[in-house]
Symmetry: D2
Subunit: 332 residues, 4 copies
């Protein structure tokens, strides 16, 4: 870490700062320039409060030289992590196709979708039992009963299940869940992350709507620092000024996360775009950008054909996407 001191800093101020930094177990190398003084801080700078340092009167600016995340950092763990979840693997060349409905609605629905997506090549089943909704008046998911139906669908198809947790107090209900999802809104719910770090479950960690890639990796670090290294990162769109799509899918996140970290990265084109007719293009693009997996909403609702147009694909559309994705993976 490098701190640049302002022109006009007195020797006493400099000394004061240096003593304070040394108390934090850092070596401080001083280079005096004509205009500025540069302090090079060596040691475990991941514990340094960069915002505080930055805001000191005498400090012009602060620059990290090394990333603040360690266990998630590829520099210290060059090999790709492979996360296992039931019969499925992801990362290090293993590709995960995660598909299923937005919410679990009934046994019939979840089992039918599970069978259909398995047929088309899905390797995991997704489905929401606890749903984060902007409005308190909207349907909040089936809750524990939804988890039970997911388990049924798993028994029927053998597909490992992925579902979201919203509250640490419900953790014991997730015993038979293979991958616990942390939603975008909870990406910085640090107490939840710490508790999940104490389990051995695979965790699918979604990027927050306004979070940088470094913050995503710091949230992974929260889980890892408690001992759980089974983390799958997920790009699902960020909030920008563009309103045509629900969010802006930041596909450069995929090569960047691969560069910075050894953890597998999946992409969720359904939530990122909010429009089923864009899912196929963006799924293909994510795979071409190097994604280790996809997460796609698929709905099977012959009685309510209306919903075919939602962000969810029909099983037939999913089958088509699945085939295109395979073609691209073979080409690369």
């Amino acid at each position: 870490m490098i701190a640049i001191l302002k022109n006009g800093t007195t020797p006493e101020q400099k000394n004061h700062l240096i003593q304070w930094l040394k108390k934090q177990n850092l070596d401080v190398h001083v280079s005096e320039g004509k205009q500025v003084t540069i302090l090079g801080l060596v040691g475990d700078t991941s514990r340094v409060d960069m915002e505080l340092l930055c805001s000191l009167e005498i400090v012009e600016s602060v620059k990290r030289v090394s990333e603040p995340f360690k266990q998630a950092n590829r520099k210290f763990h060059p090999k790709d992590t492979i996360v296992e979840a039931g019969s499925a693997r992801i990362g290090g060349g293993y590709f995960a196709m995660i598909a299923g409905p937005c919410s679990v609605e009934s046994e019939e629905q979840i089992v039918a979708v599970a069978k259909a997506v398995k047929e088309s090549g899905a390797t995991m089943l997704r489905g929401g039992a606890f749903k984060p909704r902007t409005s308190p008046y909207a349907f909040q998911g089936m809750g524990p009963e939804g988890l039970r139906l997911l388990e049924l669908a798993k028994q029927e198809t053998g597909l490992p299940i992925v579902t979201e947790i919203m509250n640490i107090n419900t953790l014991e209900l997730f015993d038979n869940v293979d991958v616990i999802q942390v939603g975008a809104r909870n990406m910085q719910n640090f107490d939840l992350l710490k508790e999940l770090g104490k389990t051995k479950k695979a965790i699918l960690l979604k990027r927050g709507l306004a979070n940088t890639l470094q913050e995503l990796l710091m949230s992974a670090e929260y889980i890892m620092s408690e001992g759980n290294e089974n983390i799958i990162l997920c790009e699902r769109g960020i909030r920008t000024f563009e309103t045509y799509t629900r969010n802006t899918m930041d596909l450069s996140a995929i090569p960047v996360l691969h560069e910075l970290s050894h953890l597998p990265v999946v992409a969720d084109p359904s939530h990122a775009t909010g429009k089923s007719r864009l899912v196929s293009s963006m799924a293909c693009a994510a795979v071409a950008a190097g994604a280790d997996g996809l997460m796609i909403e698929v709905h099977n609702d012959p009685e309510h054909a209306l919903c075919d147009g939602a962000q969810s694909l029909t099983p037939a559309q999913f089958d088509d996407v699945s085939r295109r994705v395979r073609a691209i993976r073979e080409a690369l």
Copy 2:
């Protein structure tokens, strides 16, 4: 709520959609135009899943005519809400000056700051005991001991205390806290909001970094829908492309929230700007824009004079801001 159907929608599709909407207890008024069909939905549209409706194949777009929040809505509650917290009031003409350190660090510190800010006109004391930190390796706050020290400072000065909750399981520790703060990162931690709705505590709800004003009001609605109406809204900056300030303080939020809602609105210039030298200007601006209160970081650390330059003001600087704010309030 108005739904515009696409050109080319068949009568069967239209009918199907109308039946589906009616099942949700809505009256549907149909206007057939040359190019489009417009459906006017009358009834309790706050329960309608707008995103789902929007994403249907035959729907061109959807527009809310009435806001999705009810209890927070000024239309149904024209009079300003006045929130009481210990000896302090806020809203409806009552102004709250909330001041104190970022984190509680020691008895000496918190008591000294409390006395100093009271002297300069503060009406509430703030201080963090549980701190949300991006890095798992950074100081996470003193925890329960921090709450105890805040209570001591309250006994010494009579100032009601404001402090942040991060985990619903710690709620019982907040018995003597006057205002429970929900931080920006937890603005959409819906389970936490619901639990706080079951208390009678005053809640200071901070706007999330990437949340719209409507989403902020929907989060207030989560608390109110459980029975707690003692809510203070807080603008603390949003995330934009500008990097000179830590966040971009959106002061238009103040008149907009006053227009849409009856709840009091405070502004936090310390977190929004991240630079102590901008706090005075932005505090004055917030008050001129109509804020019902301010939340300002004040640090008293004679031994570590370095820290005077942080986002926190010294007591002397706070005294100056406090005087300027009073002058503006009198002028208006």
Copy 3:
């Protein structure tokens, strides 16, 4: 276009507004509801000032039902436009690989790069003669001499040339240029767009850093409304809060623009990411998302090998990208 009037609008106000709208040659259909009155505006609403209408005291909100662009609109021109530029074509199945250096620096450089990229499959040569630079003290390009060197490279290789215009007064210098580029900063330089609309040149129109896709199409409409339909749209990244990449490449722009318009769409991964090591992934992703072409910076500078690491690729790296792109195109 639909205008929703506020509750409490008087009959006189309504009437006044309706008369004003009729004077603009619009038919107005009125539906009176319990809570709101809805006006359906039929006719050429592309001339209606939506911002003005929106801001009227009695208007709750306004919604366009039809897009404000006409000539660029796929609805009125379902077939893909194929733009021809010298020997190259783009759109409707024709793919353009546009490559070359950021700036033209010397005859030797531009000819060498042109030959190298042609060898690897480029179909057009790019190179800047007039450079928009944030700082007045930075190199502003070679100017007319740069254009002359591009023409030389074209004679040597047969590659059509693409280069940026910054000032309408230099238009006559672009006689031998095959595609005139309008940069992101000039996307809403409307006088420049109109002048280019009076030519028959192919125009490559880059999306502005903070412009929506609809605004991009409205800028295309400026050119088309003057008679020039030879437009290539270009996604080159938008400005967001993420700082790891120079901009955030919005690849969903590709399927969205194809849905809304018949114009060809290219992607520029070099500028969008600002990092050469991300160019290959994002070029592949853009092609998988359906791009009609790519624009890639390639630098050939044996004496200054340092620059190999810039956002520009070396010829060898470009050759590799070119091969991967072909593989994906064949797979789809």
Copy 4:
């Protein structure tokens, strides 16, 4: 400027880079650390292409120590600049109240508004003759005739006039204009800025929708580097994810620009919010934040009372704002 080299850079690469930097007339100070090598660059770094340097393979990151703007920089010009325009002054304690209609529409209109706003304390008259419009089909302003009418209003009232230029080829028409406005969309139209730099006219430079404060100052630098120092900076809202207001007014821009530069700063609450009912609050807030002036839309249209609700205020509303602003200025 400081460049941090990556771990693993070879001595040859280092040397190569150092030679390249020295050729740019920079002194290079090398500090070798265990993990990184730091190069301190001393000399005129405003000419260094930071993006290029940043993107070199061996460079971890680059940090400016001094700002890239010189003539606009308060460090080299500590005293506030006072810009004179006809009878009005702005900056260094002089406050400018600029008011008038969005577009000039008729002699009657512009003269009536000019008289009304002068009565209420305006010191300059604004009005658009050339209007930048997103759509080619929208009204583009009265053009030269609009300029003539502004001059008439100036003769009638003595108010100096402020109006926008969109095209350098119309510059000669602006002879009697006191302040030439450069709109947000042209903030980086560098050729236009250079030409305006060759005049002695006062220039009101609006911040672009997605431009940082540093970029705004670099655009001022373009004008100043050609010899014209009469520049007024203008904050008029930036584009963010929030859609309730047209733009997000970044009032922290005011104290930040005052800190970085000696140029006067005005705020435009009409365009920033797009809603007349928010103008008063935001005008007051801007003044409390330290603005040297305001730019407010005022419309006088007894026949089309409809328009009173637009972003423009009525003369009576303007009079009220003007009084509130004076009260705040006196209080501070």
